[in-house]
């Protein structure tokens, strides 16, 4: 059994690596053609290739998540920790997400005013996962709020949407690997149930907490905290 598990982990590792190579060339060719068509003033074709480029990014994101999950399972996910400006990271991440979500206006409220010690990329990934969920599960609304504050002990982030919400019975289960409230039979909400699991693992590694306050039909607020022990005032 253990050998089979190890073989599976090795397989996912290899597969993720092998998948990256054709994706890399596909992305380069796509971006090359996009620039070429832009120079020829064929805006429509260039915009279409831009959409293709974004799809390649989505595919890449999925591969990365599969790989991350696998490495979390075997305790091999590496963290590159250093001091970074937390509010700048939030601004940057929200900015990127805003580019991909035309319908929603993502508003940042408050600030922490802190530099924290952690893996900037990974914390950014937590926020990205929460924001993309907020967008995905609130198609009927047009607003997402990211609230930042700090109480001297922790920094606290709340990502609020006004969408479907999460039934109380699932508040713990949604953080389990591959668990989905809206399962695959319902193709309205595609996904593999990886984002929240990964987010929780990252936050736990930083000695923080991640949880949800929500009810069915009432939207959701995902909170996470990170300790300020190793932070400095900005």
């Amino acid at each position: 059994m253990k050998e089979l598990e190890m073989r599976k982990d090795d397989f996912i590792n290899m597969a993720s690596h092998e998948l990256r190579t054709p994706i890399t060339s596909a992305k380069i060719y796509t971006q090359f053609l996009k620039e070429h068509l832009r120079e020829l003033h064929d805006e429509k074709a260039a915009t279409t290739l831009n959409k293709l480029d974004k799809q390649i990014d989505k595919l890449t994101g999925l591969i990365f998540q599969l790989l991350d999950i696998n490495r979390m399972q075997v305790g091999k996910l590496t963290y590159d920790k250093q001091l970074f400006n937390f509010d700048s990271l939030v601004k940057e991440t929200v900015g990127l997400q805003q580019l991909m979500s035309k319908k929603h206006k993502i508003v940042i409220k408050g600030k922490t005013g802190k530099k924290i010690y952690g893996d900037k990329e990974r914390i950014g990934q937590v926020l990205t996962n929460l924001l993309s969920n907020a967008v995905k599960y609130s198609q009927e609304s047009d607003k997402i709020i990211v609230d930042l504050n700090s109480d001297g002990k922790d920094i606290k982030v709340a990502v609020q949407d006004f969408g479907l919400g999460v039934p109380k019975a699932y508040h713990k289960k949604i953080f389990e690997r591959f668990f989905r409230v809206y399962d695959n039979r319902d193709k309205t909400y595609p996904g593999l149930g990886m984002g929240l699991y990964i987010a929780l693992e990252i936050i736990k590694n930083h000695n923080g907490k991640l949880w949800v306050a929500s009810d069915e039909g009432a939207g959701s607020i995902f909170y996470f905290t990170l300790p300020l022990k190793e932070s400095i005032d900005e």
């Binding site: 690596h17 990256r20 190579t21 054709p22 994706i23 890399t24 060339s25 596909a26 992305k27 380069i28 060719y29 971006q31 090359f32 620039e35 070429h36 390649i56 890449t60 990365f64 790989l67 490495r71 590496t78 590159d80």
Partner: protein, 119 residues
């Protein structure tokens, strides 16, 4: 005179794709699939920059980078390492190359990196 770049990767499609982009940007390029071959080309081609994949068939890109660094004739040539392996970045840092980019990457980001190190 156009800048010269040597691209080393064990995948022909990647070499073709990167070559296409760099040539259209006016760089003079040479490509190779082999690490040992790369060392030979460097001495004749005398590139302004080397793009070097970490995992090559038959050799390790980091080892090739080390050999370039330890040879007086080639130690000044900036090397940008590329890799599809997520754990590669930390081991690449130890080699002390100019930069690292992870596959898949944004073409604009790569071009910016090349410009920076050939300025």
């Amino acid at each position: 005179m156009s800048r010269k770049i040597l691209v080393v990767d064990d995948n022909e499609d990647i070499l073709d794709a990167i070559g296409l982009v760099l040539e259209s940007e006016g760089y003079e390029i040479k490509t190779t699939l082999q690490g040992e071959e790369a060392l030979k080309i460097v001495s004749e081609f005398n590139p302004d920059l080397i793009l070097l994949d970490v995992l090559l068939s038959g050799s390790d890109g980091r080892e090739i980078a080390n050999r370039l660094k330890s040879d007086k004739k080639t130690s000044k040539i900036p090397v940008i390492m590329i890799s599809a392996h997520p754990d590669a970045q930390s081991s690449v840092k130890e080699v002390g190359v100019a930069d690292f980019i992870s596959k898949p990457f944004d073409t604009g980001k790569l071009l910016k990196m090349i410009k920076k190190h050939t300025a």
